[in-house]
């Protein structure tokens, strides 16, 4: 009986503490954080390099924004099945709609509960584990 390899995630947020918080939550949910970067351009490079199972992006970042990276992910054939989770400090409905329009799976408003993030990650990939 061989254990399935851990799912790989790329995390991007300009705030190092939030980045670490997301990484800790991802690890708790059984993910392997293959890249943790601080801007949109680096995020896109890392995504292309690792072709991860999940991408978690802050919306407001230097360089490309999370929404722009999300659109690139959706446009890439290799990444068509890769879900994107957006994080944002903005709370209004317009931003949520923009996230959906860019093709994000879900949208998590800051401040978020790490417990809730773990639950979301576990839930999102639970079907594939069976």
């Amino acid at each position: 009986m061989t254990e399935a390899p851990p799912r790989r995630v790329v995390v991007a947020d300009d705030d190092a503490d939030i980045r670490a918080l997301v990484a800790i939550s991802a690890k708790r949910a059984g993910f392997d954080v293959v890249a943790s970067v601080e801007d949109g351009d680096k995020a896109w490079l890392a995504i292309q390099e690792h072709v991860p199972d999940l991408v978690i992006l802050d919306v407001a970042m230097p360089g490309m924004t999370g929404l722009e990276v999300c659109k690139l992910v959706r446009a890439d054939a290799r990444l068509s099945e890769t879900p994107v989770l957006l994080l944002s400090a903005a709370v209004d409905e317009v931003s949520r709609a923009a996230g959906e329009a860019a093709g994000a799976q879900d949208y998590l408003a800051k401040p978020f509960s790490p417990r809730a993030l773990v639950a979301w990650l576990t839930n999102e990939f639970s079907g594939e584990n069976d």
Binding site: I18, A60, A89, A90, K110, P111, F112, S113, P114, R115
Partner: protein, 584 residues
């Protein structure tokens, strides 16, 4: 000179001659008669007694006339004077020869006097008076013989005098009538003259007022340099162009008045879009459809302010807030329009910067708070190193305060959104009783800790309203948490929901410290804190009611407050009811 003339004329006035004046010619003629007797040898006295009586009566009559003139109430007996004159002349005539007397002619003077008085009865008085003057001396004095010619003269003379009296009476009546009408005319003329003078004065005053008004208007018109004011005819042809318009467009009034149309200074696409909005099909109106759209509200008598874009001749655009009103003529018909515009370039820039700032705050404050709350949660959830109760308590305090800070940031952002008009409402049909119950339940822990009872009164039937459940919940939370904060231990907060007359009403009543009446109108201002709040050290920053008011207003509802210091406060929110949606 005029004064002397008027004084003499008053004395000699034919209108109102005094009795003394009337008596004067009679007395003088009589005196001349006496003088003639004394001076002319041929004129002799034939009967001394009769002549003496005559002179005596004449003196008496003259004295009486003088008395009557002075004593006003005797004036009505004035007719006695000429009658006495007649008798005096009658005796004097008899004394100087009777029928052959040269003084018979004197009789005419009192007769004229009597006859000239007002009323035809004076003709009779004159005739009778003459007859008495003829006969009385004959009867009373002892005369040698009365000839038949004396008798005849006694009847005939009164008859002639009566005719003369009648003529004089009539002539004087006519002259009186003429005099009166002349006087009336003179009075009328006087009145008209006075009125003319008054009108002239009024006209002068009005003219001065108009000139002052005109001057004021010109000064105000010239003083408005920061707003563009343009006047146009009903077709849009510019007829007024103020200093503000000159400054905004860089064109003088000479270049525009009577030469350019207002819609030439608008972005055509904007006007067309508006005319499509108002359903003006092209060609439907004789006017430029864009112009019709521009003045639509003003034409219907409504004042309208709306953002438009002015365009200068060089193609540069200026965003303006434009108020359009109509001008009316004296008959109330629309004679044109006024376009008052303020350049909003700067205020738009300020709004943009504010939005940017709000976005920055949103990000920069929420991000560290996210870290704080996230890591606190990690600490609490660390199963490998469970925390002691004391440590857990410390964590709760840190978490509670981080949440408090987060709420404050949220409130600040929300008020900024409300101010910039970017206030999103996610409205659906909602059950108001659920919102109220949830708000009451979430407030219970705080109320219990503060020793305050929260009572809830809900209606039997669910009131449905169209609204944003989260925002309305926030409004209820704010009102209830305020009520708890401002009520001392042992107090009661009653939250009631009722539906009547097509509206749902949420009331939150407390038995707290109340709000001073003078502060009620400032209650919804940002950062306002009631004096009772600061005095009693109630925590808060003064945003809760601002937000509550904004939420209620955005739902087209009403927020009211009644309060009495030391007794309590009652806030009420009224929202329009809708029909319960059909079950799916």
């Amino acid at each position: 000179m005029t004064d002397l003339y008027s004084r003499v004329m008053r004395y000699l006035s034919v209108d109102h001659p005094t009795l003394a004046l009337k008596q004067l010619p009679v007395a003088m003629a009589f005196a001349i008669g006496i003088a003639l007797i004394l001076l002319v040898p041929d004129v002799i006295v034939v009967h001394e007694l009769a002549a003496s009586i005559g002179i005596g009566v004449m003196v008496g009559a003259t004295v009486l006339a003088a008395i009557f003139t002075r004593v006003e109430r005797l004036e009505r007996y004035a007719i006695a004077i000429p009658l006495l004159d007649l008798i005096a002349i009658g005796f004097f005539r008899l004394g100087t020869g009777g029928g052959s007397s040269v003084f018979s002619a004197l009789l005419i003077l009192p007769v004229v006097w009597i006859a000239a008085e007002r009323g035809r009865r004076h003709i009779i008085i004159a005739a009778v008076g003459t007859a008495v003057a003829m006969f009385l001396p004959l009867i009373t004095v002892d005369v040698p013989s009365i000839s038949s010619s004396d008798l005849l003269r006694g009847f005939f003379s009164p008859f002639v005098f009566a005719i003369a009296a009648a003529i004089i009476n009539e002539l004087s009546r006519q002259s009186r009538v003429q005099l009166e009408s002349i006087r009336r005319l003179a009075d009328d003329k006087e009145v008209i003259l006075q009125r003319t003078v008054e009108f002239a004065n009024q006209l002068q005053d009005s003219e001065a007022q108009i000139r002052a008004g005109d001057r004021l208007f010109r000064n105000v018109w010239a003083a408005v340099t920061e707003q563009s004011i343009i006047g146009s005819s009903v077709t849009g042809l510019i007829d007024n162009w103020n200093a503000g318009a000159e400054k905004l467009f860089g064109l003088s009034s000479e270049e525009t008045e009577g030469k350019r149309y207002i819609f030439e200074f608008h972005v055509a696409a904007e006007l067309n879009a508006r005319s499509r909005e108002l359903n003006y099909p092209p060609g439907e109106t004789v006017l430029n459809p864009g112009f019709s759209a521009l003045v639509e509200s003003a034409r219907l008598g409504r004042a309208e302010s709306r953002e438009w874009t002015y365009v200068r001749d060089d193609g540069t655009e200026v965003p303006v807030l434009l108020s359009v009103t109509k001008r009316v003529d004296d008959a109330g018909n629309t004679s044109g329009y006024l376009f008052v515009a303020s350049d909003v370039t700067q205020s738009r820039e300020v709004a943009r910067l504010k939005d940017e700032f709000v976005g920055l705050i949103s990000h920069e404050l929420r991000t560290p708070l996210s870290s704080i709350l996230g890591y606190l949660e990690l600490l609490r959830d660390d199963e490998d190193n469970p925390l002691s109760d004391e440590q857990n308590h410390y964590l709760s305090v840190a978490e509670r305060n981080a949440h408090r800070l987060l709420r404050l940031v949220g409130d600040l952002l929300f008020t900024a959104q409300v101010e910039s008009g970017k206030f999103p409402l996610d409205s659906h049909p909602i059950e108001l009783d659920r919102i109220v119950s949830a708000a009451v339940e979430s407030a219970r822990p705080v109320a219990n800790a503060a020793g305050i009872t929260v009572e809830q009164v809900l209606p039997d039937v669910t009131p449905w309203v169209h609204g944003d459940a989260i925002r309305l919940g926030q409004a209820c939370d704010n009102l209830i948490s305020n009520a708890i904060k401002f009520t001392p231990r042992g107090g009661i907060v009653t939250v009631a929901l009722a539906a009547h007359n097509g509206s749902a009403e949420i009331t939150v009543r407390d038995t707290g410290m109340g709000i001073a009446a003078s502060e009620l109108d400032q209650l919804y201002s940002r950062f306002f804190r009631a004096s009772t709040a600061t005095r009693n050290a109630v925590p808060g920053v003064g945003l809760g009611l601002t937000i509550t008011k904004a939420i209620v207003t955005a739902h087209r509802g009403e927020l009211d407050v009644e309060s009495e210091e030391g007794v309590g406060t009652c806030f009420s929110v009224k929202l329009a009811l809708i029909a319960a949606p059909a079950p799916v």
